[in-house]
Amino acid sequence: MISFEHVTKRYGARLALDDVTWRMEEGECAVVLGHSAAGKTTLLRLITHETQPTSGVVTVGTFRGGRLTRSHRALLRRTIGVIYEDFRLLSDRTVYENVALALYISGQHVDADVAPKVRRALQEVGLESHRDLLPAELSFGERQRCAIARAIVNRPALILADEPTGALEPKSAAEVLSLLLRIHREGAALLLGTTRAEVANVIGGRRYMLEDGRLRDATTAAPASSVARAAAPSSAKATAEPGDDATTPKHQADLFPPSTKGGA
């Protein structure tokens, strides 16, 4: 699904990724751990073609390496659901409109087709009652759940999450991680970048360390997780409320110490 072949990325003199060769299969779950500015975001941006490697080849599905045309880049991005630390919601659109936007962009323009899909995505993230609110009227956790609804509404095969709990207080962070796990168990591959080992512990899957631009497989060093190998689609209830998932850690507050930034 995703492969990096000897990928190096430099920003001027700074080396972000150094000869990274890596592969991720369909339905797989992987967490890239690294300190701030370690290159996690660069790695995700290479996948979405927001940036180009200095050398090496990045392949995502059938999109192999090189500089894609703008229309091909758009096509690639429509097949991926991306979740950002700062949510990237349109501030003048309601929750419903933000989620519907992803469908409109993918070429589904008929409101009668869009409405049930948006409703279902909002149900999945527990925001159906907030559908007419603007992002500014939501808590940070709710905003991130809205962003997740937007990312999953097209049922993409791959979800990229760039520090998705970075701006959230512990309870919201736990809900978001629980949600991501459930989406993954329904069949989507999940690649998550984070600075926090506890997030990696919750998510499970393959674990990679990104240090000095080098990507190292740290799966064996990580605590084993039942989710790590459970890449196959599950029959998890699509409309379950966040937090009621069986894999949700029971001691969420312990996983996210009070020093965690953000939260509303």
Partner: protein, 285 residues
């Protein structure tokens, strides 16, 4: 065109009301200027058509032309040049007397010196100076013809005036097209800059340039439609105001008005699409 794009265009229109008003006012000013030239061109064409209707060629005949020769000549002229009307000596004299008005002036003239002639209402394709000049040369070749007159200098000036008006209208149109392009380019650039962050998010979600641009193109068309209708109303008000002083000044026919709006929209479409292609290339990747 899906409802989504119209909804987005209307949202943007409302969200940037100040910019929209500025754009509509600027476009109205440019289009009104163009509308005035179109009005002048329309009225000049009408006047020229009326004058053109009176364009005729006088073919003076030799005295010895027989009735049979005259009939043959008229047939040939009818076939190639236009509709001839025969004016004999007496009728020519009578018309001259009427034109002069004072019979004493002609009392000293013993014999009628005026030749018989044919007044030819030329075919429409022969009404230009060049065509009339050529036709006159050909008619002069007939043995029955003494001379041909068609007011060469008058016709040439009329043609020059007509082509001058047309060139002025085209130049005004071209200037207004440039004005439309500049107004729309700057309006769209400001609108897009104001929404840059949102556009970047849409690009990250996989939106194509066309998807992003379409609502803005529609918004530009809304501005232009409003401006062109306002411009036509202003030109109408001007025509109504001037009509009592300038006899014969008429407003544009509805086909001209529709064409005016249509051309303005077409220019706006091309200009806004081209501008957005350029603007979006500089946003995100």
């Amino acid at each position: 065109m899906h409802v989504y794009f119209w909804r987005e265009a209307w949202r943007s229109f409302r969200a940037h009301r100040g910019l929209a008003v500025t754009s509509v006012v600027s476009l109205t000013a440019a289009l009104t200027l163009c509308g005035i030239f179109v009005l002048l061109d329309h009225n000049a064409r009408q006047a020229l058509a009326a004058i053109g209707d009176r364009r005729e060629m006088i073919v003076y005949l030799k005295d010895e032309v027989s009735d049979a020769q005259l009939a043959t000549l008229m047939d040939k002229i009818r076939l190639y040049f236009g509709e001839p009307t025969y004016v004999d000596h007496k009728q020519a004299w009578s018309e001259l007397s009427e034109q002069i008005g004072d019979p004493d002036l002609l009392s000293g003239v013993d014999d009628n010196p005026l030749p018989a002639s044919l007044r030819v209402r030329l075919k429409p394709e022969l009404l230009s100076f060049a065509a009339m000049e050529q036709a006159a040369k050909q008619v002069l070749e007939f043995p029955e013809v003494e001379d041909v007159r068609y007011g060469a200098e008058y016709v040439r000036r009329l043609d020059d005036f007509s082509s001058g008006m047309r060139a002025t209208a085209w130049a005004a149109g071209a200037m207004v097209a440039v004005a439309i392009v500049m107004v729309l380019f700057n309006t769209l650039r400001l609108t897009v800059v104001a929404r840059r962050q949102q556009i970047e998010i849409m690009l990250r979600l996989g939106a194509t340039d066309r998807f992003i641009a379409t609502p803005y193109v529609l918004e530009a068309l809304m501005h232009t439609l409003l401006a062109s209708v306002a411009a036509l109303l202003l030109v109408f008000a001007l025509q109504q105001g001037l009509a009592p002083r300038l006899v014969g000044l008429t407003y544009l026919p509805w086909t001209w008005s529709l064409t005016f709006v249509g051309v303005a929209l077409a220019v706006a479409w091309v200009a806004s699409a081209a501008a957005l292609t350029r603007i979006l290339r500089n946003i995100g990747s």
